[in-house]
Every structure is written in structure tokens, then in C-alpha cells.
Amino acid sequence: MNSQTMPIDQPAPGHHPDTSGESWVRLRQRLLRHARMMVFEPALAEDLVQESLVAVLEKPDAHRGEASIMTWAVAILKHKIADWYRSPHQRRRAWTEADENEDVSDPTEGLYDEQGSYKEAVPSWQQPEKRETQRQMMSVMEVCLKRLPSQTGRVFMMREWLGFETTEICEQLSLSAENCRMVLHRARMGLRQCMCAQGHTTGSIQ
């Protein structure tokens, strides 16, 4: 990468990044947003983000091979969150009482007729080719993720974002395989319905 294409956020090799800069504030905020989605305790989310930022700062040159500090920092955060989920003494705290009382209604209710066929035609999504379309779609997806019941969203993120196998998720959260499958299915169907509805109004999904 030559100096001309070097992004603003990227420190020059051998130099410490400027942590007071706006870009760092934004990076921290972005990491926090993801961390908060995964762990329900705000203080813990803060800690995990802090640790990730420290890891970035300690080795500002270590992200070679990653596209940007941002991607690298997200990768570090993912590891920290995955470690947290895997630490045995934390296990029981992953599922809260608030989760138990949450509205976890089936997002597919009303979607099918008695034969199990779709009542309305399912729209076709085009594979987003342009970066701008991808970004739009990603922000729609994030909005939709927040609308899922929080435990459903968390299971989806453990599977898709952290890349946990379903067997591991079931074990960590003490769910049956059947339950795990159902939660993931509802998460995905909830997301696609929300994204269809959002796409319809923003025009970002066809």
C-alpha cells in the first residue's frame, strides 16, 4: 500500500496512532455498538471494547494483511467476545431473566396459508454489487437486528458473526438442539421480513 492510498485512520508504520482523533472516537463507538448487541451488561461491553482498543494500540503495525484498523479492531473484538462466551464462569450470565420474559413470538405467523404456502409473493433480492448498495443493505440489516427479540438477535450473532457452531451455542446457552434451530430460523425469517419491509420504503433492496 503506498502513502497515497493509505486511509486517514491508518497510522504510518512505526508511529503510534493518534488516539484523541475523531476517527478513534468513531472506532470506539462502532465497537461499542457491536459489543452491546452481544453482551447485555454495559460495563462489560465497555471493558471488552477497551481491551480491544488497547490491543490495537499496543501493536499499531500488527494489522498488516487486514484491510484497515477498523476491520482489524472488529476482528479483535470478535475474539474477545467469543472468549467471554466460552469462559465457563460467565456462561450462566449470557442468558438473563429479562430474556425469559421477552416477547418471542413467531415472525412467520400469518406468512403462510393452511397448506404452508406463502400468502404473498416473495420478492427477489438482487445481490448488492456496488459498495454503496452493500452499505445501505448492511445498515438496514443492523436496524432489523435491533428489532429482533434480544436473545434471538444474540443467538444469530453468535452463529453468524462470531461463527460459533450450533452445537456450541446450544451448549453455552443450555438450549436443546431443536430450540437452537428454531431460534436461528426465527432470527433469519424475522430479519428477511424486516429487510423486505425496510427495502420497500428505502428502495435499497429490490
Binding site: R30, A121, E142
Partner: protein
């Protein structure tokens, strides 16, 4: 082997197939159903895209601020 008529069941199998290999019978029933059902093919496409995007959360969502490093 009975035919799979229900799109509801097909969607469940589509989701399951993203997490674990389906057994031969389910795989075949799903394939036959998809070959006859455009709605389910669209759902398949959507679920695949959601699956792909899930792994990329946090690395693509720059949205408003354009001066964040981009991914080549």
C-alpha cells in the same frame, strides 16, 4: 419418500442447512421443492445473503462517515 409441499417446512430446512448438513432425504425433498417453487428460491437467496452479511457486520457498515478506511 413423500414430496415436500409446505413452504413453511422448506424455509425451516433452508435455515437448518446453513448450520448443519441435512440428511439425504431432506436434502432431496428440499431440492425438488425448490425446483418447483419460485417463492422458496427467493427465500433461499435472501437467507443466503443474510448468512453472508452476518459475518461481515462491523466491516461494511460505514454508512454516513466516508473517511473511514475502506476494504479493497
Amino acid at each position: 419418500m413423500t414430496l415436500l409441499h409446505s413452504c413453511k417446512k422448506a424455509a425451516e430446512l433452508l435455515s437448518q442447512s446453513l448450520d448443519e448438513p441435512l440428511d439425504m432425504v431432506d436434502k432431496l425433498r428440499l431440492r425438488v421443492h425448490l425446483s418447483m417453487c419460485g417463492n422458496c428460491r427467493n427465500v433461499e437467496e435472501q437467507l443466503n445473503l443474510i448468512h453472508q452479511m452476518g459475518a461481515q457486520i462491523g466491516t461494511l457498515d460505514f454508512g454516513d462517515d466516508q473517511d473511514v478506511p475502506s476494504i479493497p
